[in-house]
Symmetry: C2
Subunit: 503 residues, 2 copies
């Protein structure tokens, strides 16, 4: 039998990068194709977020170059604001660092892990540093850097100032092994095609390893509203949230703290909170105890508040979804942006559905999933979107799930997407989200059903007309004999009648 | 348009505990029942690992007490070696700290997140500190502690030395809200029942909130072999692994470093590695470059090595699986421990299958999943075990998946279980693991098929016997008339014949 001292000799503390190095599959790095697509995903996500937050129409350039067997160089360039030199090591070399995770704001990234994860993967498969070229408008800096895994920190190996010809933006170049390239459903090609559908305001240029240049053009010139930081809604808060905020606020009195830092709290509501919770709104915010905070949160549960504002949520919009879906050149398409709802009490979200029929679609339903406009390519099995799609009684809408040529587009927009893992490829089964996806699909399906039944009627009409036309000569002859009229005149009349009836 | 400086004003660095607080669902804390079971799971996992590593027959005591609406106190006590006072804050209050993650060894925990995650959940839902009582044999310490989320560190609030009456072990007591208790499939009750099946050497005492005391008794008194740290196998290593090890080794020459710190490298293999890689085995290990390390890893891929040793893997064993399954009092059970295999080139694993028919089983296949003896209760949808089970052609084995009363037990044993997320409830789709599960099920099913067809034959026999018996009096009468023999004698003879034929 061993003693406690024996057992604790090996006690160690890992850094978060060491953890994700050991568990790279949790970030999605499993398999050569998937690893390649995840790398592209992390870099493109950052580029699009950077453009959006600054209010810039994105021009993204992605290039993949083959260096050897399962060995590639990948670069992604954007035209966003650039990154100040001193932040470069943290942005690309430190996990859990960023400007997104702690703000209640819609963005593609929300963890501060993604792009540092890409640098980590590059480094542990090739031993090569990442190269970052960035300019905020003045100087252009080229930085070669590593991720110090034990410290979870970026380490600059070399930095060079280079001549600027007016360029502003960021370019990241990494090398990776254990990756490969093709054009399958799970490939960077399809990932970028899907990104283009959900981001019709972005122009994406893509150079494949064989030199083929693909442009996913911009189909909308409207810059999306930049995301907005939203105040937390009382119904979506925990006691711990409230205490952490109270500790960090500059507002002295509890009442004015609640009114200024939470949403939907009017002066009248404040009286109600005081009455229901029994906590004085005059108290010093910094003296708030757990017990009092808990009383306030309990009061929040009992009191009615206006639903959270959704002004910080930026859906793609029905028109732009249709523009995006035009990529498959459908015969018919329809889009639905549902009105904002909340899950877990107070986290606002919006579901958007698009349906495109025919055109380049193959037989069956092709589900394309998005969260905050970012394509979800993997782990469909565990995603609320697939569960919702499976629950639909498709035949009611004239759809045969195995043969009707359909693209089903689903986008979930929220300040906090409840991903099931750090790899961010599946959304958790939250009932409110599940229901909204179902309602959205049913909405869109009603439009599709009308189209399909019109299409069916038109087809039946065409068939009936064709069979009448086929018998027109003979029928005219018979009619002419019966009436004694000129056969050609009868035939003309007959054909005119058919044409009129089946116009 | 915003500038880079505007955007980077909000740049911040989160700690890993802040990250998992914000993304508690990634640790499995979603829903009241699931959250309760995850808390129990993390604490029991730690207790069982601690006993096993020390070679102690586990006596675990779990108690759940209701304190209010969705508010419970939970305690788990073990009889392991105890935890030295100075390690208590790190074990229970610092994520990514532990003795398991960095060692190549089979254990239930492998991340150093779980029990600190439980303390975190307790703290953010109730504001209450955790209480740890532990003795390594001498003093008993009672510690009340918090998790400092910003620092990711345990903070002792109060420590008291208490009288020891010879006790040794650890007891953790936490309070949690947003949890609830029942006896459903996803409950702590079922979790402990499943734990007991896979750990027949453990005695688990469980006090439910209403005071009901349940004992899951020990059905085996054999202490499992303690887990063993295993050397890495050349085929399962990356260039980065090799470099990190080379940097930290005390062995001066590359050749002796490889021989002593990796497995399956003989002197002869060393010559082959030198020849294939072109790297001198005489070189100073600390001067190993990425390029040379890569050449060695490439050589590893080309060279044949003996399969990794599996002596560090501890399967439950067929006999003990049957003992565990005896809990459902089956009519028939069978267990298969497959021989060791590897995935990703060199990570060893073993699959164990148990099948139990009839008894307390309800209609249909009840799949109970385990990894390193730890029950996997959630996320079955995304787990390789479910995929493998779905792929089996059950009817071939006389099983109707919807009506045959079956428990299917699957345990995966490995030094590194490829979980799909930090919540550790589903195992990733690794092809070798998938295949082994399938083969194991098919092995077990062949035994089940024999039993079922015997059972079917016995049933048919019984039916035939019954119908013959039914007609025995009449037939005997007829025979007696025909032969002139005494009717009773004929009947006796007739019944004896039937009895003999259908014994």
């Amino acid at each position: 039998m061993k003693s406690a001292d024996d057992l604790f000799k090996e006690f160690k503390i890992l850094s978060v990068s060491e953890f994700f190095k050991k568990n790279a599959d949790m970030l999605g790095y499993t398999g050569k194709i998937r690893s390649m697509t995840i790398l592209i995903h992390e870099m493109v996500t950052n580029a699009l977020d950077a453009c959006e937050e600054a209010g810039i129409l994105p021009e993204i350039r992605v290039e993949i170059d083959q260096k050897g067997e399962s060995h590639y160089e990948i670069s992604v360039e954007d035209n966003a604001t650039g990154i100040p030199l001193k932040f470069i090591p943290d942005v690309f070399g430190r996990m859990l660092a960023g400007s997104k995770a702690h703000r209640n704001m819609q963005s593609r990234g929300q963890q501060g892990i993604g792009v540092s994860g890409a640098v980590m993967y590059s480094q542990v498969t090739t031993g090569q540093p990442a190269t970052i070229i960035s300019s905020t408008g003045d100087e252009v800096w080229k930085v070669r850097m590593n991720l110090d895994l034990q410290k979870n920190a970026g380490k600059i190996i070399e930095k060079t100032k280079i001549e600027n010809d007016g360029w502003r933006g960021t370019k990241i170049i990494i090398e990776a092994k254990d990756v490969t390239y093709n054009r399958s459903r799970y490939s960077p090609y399809n990932y970028l095609r899907m990104s283009s559908i959900a981001n019709p305001h972005a122009r994406i240029e893509f150079i494949e390893p064989d030199g083929t240049k693909i442009i996913f053009p911009r189909s909308s010139k409207e810059v999306p509203k930049p995301p907005k930081i939203m105040k937390l809604h009382p119904k979506g808060m925990t006691t711990d949230d409230l205490l952490v905020m109270a500790r960090n606020t500059k507002t002295r009195k509890l009442g004015s703290f609640l009114r200024t830092e939470l949403s939907r709290i009017s002066k009248k509501k404040l009286d109600e909170i005081e009455r229901v919770s029994g906590v004085s709104m005059e108290m010093n915010t910094h003296r708030l105890t757990w017990k009092d905070a808990e009383k306030i949160i309990d009061a929040f549960k009992k009191i009615d508040f206006m639903a959270p504002s959704s002004e910080g949520l930026i859906p793609i919009g029905e028109e732009n979804i249709m523009k995006g879906l035009s990529l498959v050149e459908p015969e018919f398409s329809i889009a639905v942006t549902r009105s904002p709802k909340t899950y877990r009490g107070g986290i606002p979200f919006i579901v958007e559905i698009g349906l495109a029929y025919g055109g380049k679609n193959e037989a069956g339903i092709d589900i394309i999933r998005y969260a905050n406009r970012s394509p979800l390519v993997f782990d469909q099995g565990g995603c609320v979107i697939n569960e919702a799609v499976k629950s639909i009684d498709w035949r009611r809408y004239g759809v045969n799930p195995d043969s009707t040529p359909l693209t089903l587009f689903v986008n979930i927009v929220s300040t906090h997407i409840p991903y099931t893992s750090a790899g961010k490829q599946a959304v958790a089964m939250e009932e409110e989200i599940y229901n909204e996806i179902r309602f959205g699909i049913m909405d869109a399906c009603r439009g599709l059903k009308r189209f399909l039944s019109l299409k069916r009627r038109a087809y039946q009409k065409k068939q009936r007309k064709e069979s009448l036309m086929k018998y027109a000569p003979e029928s005219s002859k018979a009619l002419s004999k019966l009436t004694g009229e000129n056969p050609d005149k009868v035939k003309d009349l007959f054909i005119k009648l058919i044409e009129k009836r089946y116009a």
